[in-house]
Symmetry: C2
Subunit: 388 residues, 2 copies
Amino acid sequence: MRDVTIIGIGLTQFGELWDKSFRQLIAEAGASAILDAGISGKDIDAMYVGSMSSGRFVGQEHVGALVADVSGFSHMHIPSTRVEGACASGGLAVRQGYLSIASGINDIVIVGGIEKMNDVGGVSATETLATASDQEWEAFFGATFPGLYAMIAKRHMYEYGTTKKQLAQVAVKNHANGALNPNAQYKKPITLEYAMNATIVADPLGLMDCSPISDGAASIVLCAADIAKKYTEKSIKIIGSGQGSDTLALHARRDICTLDATVHAGKMAYKQAKITPKQINIAEVHDCFTIAEICAIEDLGFVKKGEGGKAVENKITTLDGSLPVNTSGGLKSKGHPVGATGVAQIVEITQQLRGEAGKRQVKDARIGLTHNVGGSGATCVVHILEVA
Amino acid sequence: MRDVTIIGIGLTQFGELWDKSFRQLIAEAGASAILDAGISGKDIDAMYVGSMSSGRFVGQEHVGALVADVSGFSHMHIPSTRVEGACASGGLAVRQGYLSIASGINDIVIVGGIEKMNDVGGVSATETLATASDQEWEAFFGATFPGLYAMIAKRHMYEYGTTKKQLAQVAVKNHANGALNPNAQYKKPITLEYAMNATIVADPLGLMDCSPISDGAASIVLCAADIAKKYTEKSIKIIGSGQGSDTLALHARRDICTLDATVHAGKMAYKQAKITPKQINIAEVHDCFTIAEICAIEDLGFVKKGEGGKAVENKITTLDGSLPVNTSGGLKSKGHPVGATGVAQIVEITQQLRGEAGKRQVKDARIGLTHNVGGSGATCVVHILEVA
């Protein structure tokens, strides 16, 4: 297997983008990544696109071909493939791009992630998001993701004494970070009091425990390590890639407080990277709900099971803590255009490892991790990046 | 890159399967392939699933995880990824599985393809299929696939003198083959007169020029060639894999009678296999409409551009012709559950190369080709298989 590096990144504004179409967003992110990498279209061997539900949101399947088309590459007939794993679609696209270079088939691959979730008409975004849960055992009976994650939160509180205040502290931290991110949907800090008193969505989760409905796109350029120097001196190496799956329905898990797919994907990535969780300097984890960030830092081995809430309370995961988590603002504050999220996480870690993260820069970060979850944890993708 | 072989195949009945659910179908195909390969679940390193529009058809995205779940593999957390490229979704899944073994990351991968298109409620299948076309330039204005392929047919007739009779002869041949396939949706031969006098769907295409709406699933087990002998003596080697893309909208092509994505994917696969089109003994091509089969045999280099119609008339592509095409009955007669089709094509060629195709067995076939198209040709995947 060949080593693979990231040589370009691109990110659109995240938010309610009523004046930008699906195709405009992905073209913008892709063009930014290509410019950043200093490559031209003819250098690209393949494209991968992560999108969760373009068919339902904007009436367009077949978005692999669409993305090649709107990027102006259709005349070159570059293979372009969409992958889908609910909110982990972006991470899966990164992994497929990575594998295709590691295999030796491709040298340079562009990976995109996109979702347009606001201006969609007809069915509500929440109803379409519920197609990531088990249709026959969950969605059919009216379960939605706030409800499913609320059950995880309730159980986590019961098992480990996690508090509503600790959940709120995740939101406060991520909003503080998002306020420093020009691309974030919400560039405003919130207070603990504001978070704790927000309208209840699904007890114990309030509005500030939930990531928003977002539009946005992200893109990266992957390159075989042996030729990366041709394009850039600041490439970032992918040293680990892991993926795991689990039951689609939450009730069928051995323990709803542990995302075994995360544990599995993390172990796979750590093993490949030949590192332990302690060596990670910075992480972007999948905080679709505040409880999800607490589970993630436990399941990835950063803290012991049950101690995620305390770690947040003790400010271990803040920008100046020992392990800054979601420096971008996370899904909560940066926004969560579901198919884009996994790719945007890679963009953030790459910016951090390059030392280009501006006001939210973490000092001396050399190894970073991304963690992207589909549904309530039936799919998980983990990547580990290192300064090349 | 490592060599990759096919060691197991599974196929459900294709048809209007009102009494079988999405999850039943994919579990059935997967279990058949696993039994055929003689592997157990713990041997499987990864899964790939092709499905075009499960989100719209059955309200279920995230079907990679679902398939791992209903197959009983969720507790092993095997990575499972859905890929989508409209009606080429199955072929794309095969290619991703292939790449993941070629890369050295996986040894054994199970690939599935599925679509449930009949018992879907709400939106019509044709409307959902139109999401494979360009939403903003085609579907929005009411264009559907019969209309788009009718334009290709009209132009092909104008440019090359292709006749309605030649189109009908594709259908007659494929129904004759389908009558010999126990899994086919339509196991009945049709006459030339019947095909030519069928109700017009979109001039010049009549009902017998169009593939049906189908339910069904297919699955294959891929294995690194160096360990295949552990499981079977009858493995089939993948000697070429190609993929191409093109403009999503038909009107934007340089020539609507040529699917450049097919030409590109074919060349890529031939180059890797180090063979010419003349060395192919048997092919499964994407006959979503009869005109598509004529374009395919031209674009794949079996006959010169414009001579596809004549080749059909001269019976070159019949079961006892010099290049049997769509021995399974093709999409027209076997059925076209869109996400399953690309995988089912591999199943057919594998059966033929193993000498297990029963009444439709082609004698001495050693090298076979599959050709899977998304939309009106914006995505194409070609695989070349050889007796190992």
